[in-house]
Amino acid sequence: MERYIRQTGLRSFGEEGQVKLASGRVLIVGLGGLGIPVAQYLNAMGVGTLGLVDNDRIALHNLQRQVLYSEEDVGQSKTEVAARKLKAQNGNTQLEIFATYLDQNNALEIIAPFDLIIDATDNFGTRYLINDACVILGKPFVYGAIQGFEGQVAVFNYQGGPTYRCVFPHLPGNHEIPNCNENGILGVLPGIIGTLQALEAVKVLTGTGQVLSGELLIYEGETQTTRKIKLVHRPENQQIQHLQGNYAIPVCDTIPTIDAPDFLKHSETAALQIIDVRNPEEFADFHLKQAKNLPLSGLRDRLAQIRWDEPAYFICQSGVRSRLAVQQIQEIHPEADIYHVAGGMHAIQPLTEIS
């Protein structure tokens, strides 16, 4: 195998490592910034079968970090373009294309035939889904995630080691953590983290080196610092028997939201600026003591009545108008510290005393 001589010549890898790669079956979930370097390197190095899962199309703003795609590919399906280019890179690889998003209905079926899963997704819902499905099926997975200049890498559920839930037990709410491309990723960062994921995949498949299991690697690009955190294995996280009915929101939501119970708890400890955007009649009927009434219909003309130097909490009857209010204000005051109260007065009423 002339083609792989540079790696088979490595004593710790050898012909044996190449044979193991060739019989390996790896599923890459997500063909974005992280998935692309994983796919390119595993394909180049001779992994036998690569499964590719994504249902996205290539957008112009993907090109600064998703380096497999070209300007002419914009608008096309990621799996189709990636499969074509990977085929040209290495014709021996068996490519299996899944032009879909991974969800609770297809995850077990798609994952089952593979030896190793790569979590190269861009949202928490799918990350927890991959974790739970891999625990149920007894598959290891290589986790990678990025934000700004930072990245995290780990191999989870490897030979009884810790899982993603041992580090982060609960799926974060939509308003807690920046969840989308809009929050910024330096183009080269997914290249670094994705390549580290590819390295871990090779180690798991061939038994070369020491697999990054039981540890979380944190990479900080601004200072070129890496740090490894020793993890604690919680056996109860290995007991998952079924997928959850819902893994929430793979959809991008940039409207800052606070849940009614959190909002109430917060309002008990601080004098909050609360803006009630319902009609004056609804407001007169009942409202929160601290609330100021600025109906949504005339909100744009009354923005001067809001104190911008402190957070403002927008509330309405059910959470629809307050959401719109925050959306409108974000366009005018993108820096404003504003929240919409999910569920509105409907959610608040049973929990509190109304004036």
């Binding site: 990678g144 934000q147 930072e150 974060p172 920046p178 020793k230 917060h266």
Partner: protein
């Protein structure tokens, strides 16, 4: 006590690290990881609202009942989702 901040914790605090004075007169100094969570949550309510926030003491994942002292290096590690 030095607290290193990652991901959204860094954005919330507005700095990559925090120093917690260990001789604040009259103030109660956090003795456990759980007390540190509460202590930080008072200054930064958004930290307290995170569903999952891993805390490492001297590069090891720590449970809330773990004791900490002034020469420990603490890291706040929230989940990160981008890809």
């Amino acid at each position: 006590m030095t607290v290193l901040l990652f991901g959204v914790a860094k954005d919330i605090v507005g700095s990559p690290s925090l120093s917690i004075p260990t001789n604040a007169n009259g103030k109660r100094i956090p003795n456990t990881v759980g007390e540190l969570r509460t202590f930080l949550g008072k200054s930064y309510p958004e930290l307290e609202r995170l569903s999952s926030l891993a805390i490492a003491v001297n590069n090891s994942y720590a449970n809330d009942d773990e004791t900490i002292n002034s020469y420990d290096e603490i890291a706040l590690i929230p989940p990160v989702s981008g890809g």
